[in-house]
């Protein structure tokens, strides 16, 4: 958390994360170009670089898309989420380099400007084998540009978390466009079944992970709990919640994180005010509920961020009956916007 905007709030974890990412990208590109030149000595350096950048971006996109559901299915993988935006911006940079080099290589030497050539050179829209697949890649690059350009917290605040989240869900459309770009482009000339199998496997892994994580979320949403006469709902036994950790439940369709700390329980909305991260998968650090995604903090009893921060999440009334934990399904504060907390 930070009071002021800065380009990147660097810390040790981010440096390690970016170091591993940068090293991995350099290693991949080096190996791709080196092995490519060895296996296909007739291939030009430009072709190898264009393909290396494209495949690296696509591989990184699969990693990025897998992190979210993996972290939902296994909490030990939550640290991968911490700096996912850097992965996204790196992936966009690689895809942009692939696009620019391709434009220069294949469209810059004609009579018309390269972007015009890209859009008009091939109009065989009714052919699968000769489809103008480049346009699909350009459309995906446009979406990825919008996402990379708005990835900073400044834009998150300007657009609101809801709009920002919806905008960034456009990555799924970009993913479909990119798979079609590869299927109708490179895989029409590269006939190796191995390449098609690798792409198919990547799609199945990403889709399977999202569907498995989504099905798990739907099961939690569909849990039914009977209210007692005073409206409170039994959640679980006090000892079933680990100290300084939470149990996440669904109350009236909303996720509530019930934390145990210092011999008592507190219930907060499970949705972080920053990027809608799952607060219930975080823990209490220095007396504050700490979001596992980016470390935003809230006081467990009030749902307010410690001064000077202004974020706020809804809280719920709790009660202990013996060792039974009970929560009232109506939130104490319905307005989540920080303006309401001022």
């Amino acid at each position: 958390m930070s009071v002021h905007y800065q380009a990147v709030g660097w810390n040790r974890q981010k440096r390690i994360y970016d170091g591993v990412m940068g090293g991995g990208v350099a290693l991949y590109l080096g190996a791709f170009v080196g092995l490519g030149a060895w296996v296909h000595p007739q291939a030009t350096a430009e072709t190898l670089l264009i393909r290396g950048l494209g495949t690296c971006a696509l591989l990184l996109l699969h990693v990025i898309l897998s992190i979210g559901p993996l972290a939902r299915l296994d909490a030990r993988l939550l640290p991968l989420l911490y700096n996912r935006r850097h992965l996204g911006v790196t992936m966009f940079t690689l895809a942009l380099a692939h696009g620019v080099f391709s434009l220069v290589q294949f469209h810059a030497l004609g009579d018309v400007p390269a972007p015009v050539s890209l859009l008009t050179a091939n109009t065989r829209w009714n052919s699968v084998a000769q489809f103008p697949f480049e346009i699909l890649g350009a459309a995906a690059l446009g979406i990825l540009f919008l996402m990379a350009a708005t990835s900073h917290d400044f834009w998150l605040n300007q657009l609101s978390p809801q709009v920002w989240k919806r905008l960034h869900m456009c990555v799924y459309a970009a993913y479909l466009l990119l798979i079609a770009h590869v299927l109708l482009g490179a895989l029409q000339s590269e006939r190796s079944p191995l390449l098609a199998a690798i792409l198919g496997l990547g799609c199945m892994v990403v889709t399977g992970l999202h569907l498995a994580a989504g099905a798990r979320e739907r099961r939690i949403d569909r849990e039914r709990r009977e209210a007692e006469t005073d409206g409170f709902v039994e959640v679980c036994d006090f000892h079933a919640i680990p100290e300084k950790r939470a149990r996440v439940i669904s109350l009236g369709g909303e996720r509530v994180a019930v934390f145990r700390h210092d011999g008592k329980v507190s219930a907060l909305s499970n949705v972080c005010a920053h990027q809608n991260g799952p607060l219930g998968e975080g823990k209490i650090v220095d007396g504050c509920v700490t979001c596992p995604w980016h470390g935003y903090q809230y006081l467990p009893d009030t749902g307010m961020s410690p001064p000077p921060f202004l974020e706020k999440v809804a809280t719920y009334r709790t009660r202990l009956a013996g060792t039974r934990v009970l929560v009232h399904p109506m939130p104490c504060v319905s307005a989540l916007k920080k303006e309401a907390a001022r």
């Binding site: 699968v128 084998a129 809801q162 989240k165 919806r166 869900m169 799924y172 993913y175 479909l176 798979i179 079609a180 299927l183 109708l184 895989l187 029409q188 006939r191 098609a196 198919g200 799609c203 889709t207 999202h210 569907l211 989504g214 099905a215 979320e217 739907r218 949403d221 369709g253 909303e254 996720r255 499970n270 949705v271 809608n276």
Partner: protein
């Protein structure tokens, strides 16, 4: 937040179908890389 989770889930169901169709179309229509054998009558039309 629940509607967004629902949208997310159904988006991936739709994506799974769209990706399967893209694979069928993209790989199914690829012309064969095997050269035509002119001594076999039906291969001339391939």
């Amino acid at each position: 937040m629940r509607p967004l989770r629902e949208v997310h889930f159904w988006t991936w169901v739709a994506l799974a179908v769209a990706l399967a169709l893209a694979f069928l179309l993209g790989l199914g229509e690829r012309p064969s890389s095997t050269p035509v054998n002119p001594s076999i009558e039906w291969e001339k039309t391939r």
